[in-house]
Amino acid sequence: MNKPLMHFLKTIANSARDLAPIAFVICFFQIFVLKQPIPNMDEIVVGSIFVVVGLTFFIYGLEMGLFPIGESMAFAFARKGNVIWLLIFAFALGFGTTVAEPALIAVSKKAARIAAQGGVIEVTDTAINMYAQGLKFTVAFSVGLAAVIGVLRIIKGWSIQWIIMGGYILVVIMTMIAPKEIIGIAYDSGGVTTSTITVPLMTALGIGLASSIKGRNPMLDGFGLIALASLTPMIFVMAYGMTY
């Protein structure tokens, strides 16, 4: 048998194995706990096949396209030595990938409804929309800023733990003074910003930079961008809640 086909079949088998635990959990609870038949069995089987094939293509494409381009751009920027452009690129990447994130759009709409219910803003469509839009751009800005800080950190070789701990202290202080209603959304917004495409791209960028700058260790300096991108939104969303 030829090699690419074998590789493809192997990837498919891996994807199927990755999804097997979910199928098992759902069947177990449906049959033994809820004691109900599984509805629309045929749809579920067909859907699962799509999930498996989709995951296979995604991982394939990642290794062919996203990873190499992320790293080659990091190398090119490092060789050029133009820090300003690199930082602009990092900001654009963070901001651009977050502003279009569907999960973020859903969360900001929900936050706006809570604010309206709590009497923070007027209960009109325009007020709610304004609030949601503002929140969305605030989060996107904070992710862009996180990418800038993260790239600067790699260039300068600052250690990540001090930055993260500083961030934690800020989160704790903000939690004490921010309005109570915003805290839950603020904490969750850290998790929803990092999407399936942002994560591989940011990781490739960080590792590419850390391996092309002399004196940096890809393990020690390459990771950390995602951590920052899930920390800054918490701080900025609470700040947003306070200014209203």
């Binding site: 990755d18 635990p21 979910i22 959990v25 759902i26 609870f29 809820l34 109900q36 749809e43 579920i44 859907g47 699962s48 799509f50 999930v51 094939v53 989709g54 995951l55 293509f57 995604f58 991982i59 494409g61 290794e63 062919m64 396209g65 996203l66 381009i69 751009m73 090119a76 050029k80 452009w85 651009g96 990938t97 279009a100 809570i114 219910q117 990540i160 733990q161 989160v171 704790v172 939690t175 209603e181 839950g184 904490y187 969750d188 998790g191 910003t193 990092t194 399936t196 495409i197 994560v199 990781t203 590792i207 393990m219 300096d221 990771f223 950390g224 961008l225 995602i226 951590a227 899930s230």
Partner: protein, 270 residues
């Protein structure tokens, strides 16, 4: 025949959504490539095919989840949190039994197992695990990292569900979690720290968020005394904090185990 047409229609919509998601990234990457770096992309054709694969793969993946997983997952979250089911599993035949958080035990078990299994299927975690394995020269196993993260998410989500049921303030848990992370950071092997911090953010994406959000909202809407809008949040925060703790713990344990083994071989050599 109409079913297939309907499906194709839906898939076209998902594909369109995925393309609009990926488009800003493509514009930024190629914009910078052509106007700032001004260099030809090595293997351009391969990279472009890779992007097409990513888009098609993601669209198929999302469509499949939408068709198969999400409806069942959400329905189950709804049923498991319903008052009837809780009373039934608590062994009460009439409605007079007093409310207690332990009656929700199936919810915690469900939260744990669905948190674990969706994290194993999370594509962005797999991507980071592949990179970490490559960069560490193989000393960080792909499966070791994925399982460590999945355990963290599982513990986080079940603890988060318990918090919604009891109504304890969210920030107590998160701040205590931070304190644990800070203490662990001082005692963990240095090389793992950045990766552990990152693993907090990668866990919560395409597969985990919708099912976990349904669980949180279901709980908050049905537990007496909770408000859907105020208490439904927080599960994602738990799911992004606890993997940091579990990955650091995994690194600490394997370092400790390695040291012990070294000692034993030294002793046996003597």
């Amino acid at each position: 025949m109409t079913e297939i047409l309907n499906w194709l229609n839906e898939f076209a919509l998902t594909l369109l959504h995925t393309i609009t998601d990926v488009l800003p990234i493509v514009v930024i990457i190629f914009g910078f490539q052509f106007f700032v770096i001004r260099k030809k992309i090595h293997n351009l054709k391969r990279v472009l095919i890779g992007f097409v694969y990513v888009i098609i793969g993601l669209a198929l993946f999302l469509q499949g989840l939408e068709d198969a997983l999400f409806p069942v997952g959400k329905m189950m979250a709804n049923q498991l949190t319903s008052i009837d089911f809780i009373l039934q599993s608590a062994g009460a035949l009439d409605q007079s039994i007093e409310f207690h958080w332990s009656q929700y035990y199936w919810v915690y078990i469900f939260a744990f197992s669905i948190g674990f299994s969706t994290t194993i299927a999370e594509p962005s975690l797999l991507a980071v695990a592949i990179k970490a394995n490559e960069v560490s020269g193989g000393s960080i196993g792909i499966w070791g990292l994925r399982i460590a993260v999945a355990i963290g998410v599982a513990v986080g989500i079940s603890l988060g569900s318990w918090r919604i049921v009891t109504g304890l303030p969210l920030h107590w848990f998160i701040i205590s979690g931070y304190i644990i992370v800070v203490i662990q950071t001082f005692f963990s092997p240095k090389l793992i720290i950045p990766l552990a911090y990152d693993s907090g953010g990668v866990t919560t994406s395409t597969v985990t968020v919708p099912i976990v959000a349904a669980l949180g909202i279901g709980l908050a809407a049905k537990v007496p005394g909770r408000s859907e809008l105020l208490d439904g949040f927080g599960l994602i925060a738990f799911a992004s904090l606890f993997p940091i703790i579990s990955v650091l713990a995994y690194a600490q344990l394997s370092e400790w185990y390695g040291k012990r083994q070294n000692k034993e071989t030294e002793q046996s050599n003597v």
